[in-house]
Symmetry: C2
DNA sequence: ATTAATTACTACCTTTAAGTAGTAATATAA
DNA sequence: TTATATTACTACTTAAAGGTAGTAATTAAT
């Protein structure tokens, strides 16, 4: 019931970038502002780049910018890239729940779980902007 | 959005014990039936014992039995013992959400999260019995 | 060209969860 | 009282996540 550190970092980075007007962000700046270890952050940035969320330019005045509109980057996509999505995993893993039968808790568990996952799929970085309207 | 292996094992073990009439279960038997590594299982059993869920007897004809009625062992308690509870942890960890302000996703996320946690608190091993009535 | 500022890459180190091995302690039965 | 079947304890190994270090590649400014 907790995202892994890498996912949290990625969300915080992208959310912060979504909430500023600056046309470019450097790893150094992001690292300091968000208090994320510099070297670890650069690796995350590279992955976010490979995933197509951001573009990077090296060298002086280099940095990171979004590669597409905020609405097109879903929270779910980010978690997927960070390898932090576990759909259809039942409460007890390989246990009673997996082989056709379902444990009694299965329903109670999978419903809110699906709710959360739907929310991840429906919300984008646009929704993480401070100005964003409240979204159910 | 996934329990850790140890928690899943613990739940499967206790659920299985709840669903049998045998007055005692051996580590060997549980390990084979549930396909959980023997040595790892015995460590889990020791922890479940220390937590007061089960009693153990060594030696010939030894094994594990419940230390109290099934209703009194809540799923939440089990997860707590397994160190797998993360209440009040926001989506982005130490990020925007922590310092007074909440990110826009906070509500959407924390509601179903709380739902799940409430469910864990309200349901016990009794509810994991195959015969248990469906429970919302 | 040279320097400085940046990202990219590769390899390593640290921590924690997961899993294994060996032995000690305990209880029963023969 | 000896053998056997069990759990308990301690220490190690493995795998994966998290984090660090050094250097190469790239870009811009001077």
């Amino acid at each position: 019931m907790k995202l892994k550190a890498t996912s949290e970092y990625a969300l915080r980075i992208l959310a912060h970038m979504s909430n500023t007007n600056e046309d470019s962000h450097t790893a150094k700046g992001l690292s300091q502002t968000l208090n994320i270890p510099y070297k670890y952050l650069t690796r995350i940035m590279t992955n976010l780049g490979k995933a197509g969320f951001i573009n990077s330019t090296r060298g002086k005045n280099g940095g990171f910018i979004f590669a597409k509109p905020l609405e097109e980057i879903k929270i779910y996509d980010i978690l997927e890239v960070m390898n932090d999505v576990n759909e259809d995993v039942c409460l007890m893993g390989e246990g009673l729940c997996s082989q056709g039968e379902h444990c009694v808790l299965h329903e109670s568990w999978s419903k809110p779980k699906q709710l959360i996952e739907e929310m991840f799929k429906n919300s984008s970085l646009k929704d993480l902007q401070k100005s964003a309207p409240f979204k159910a």
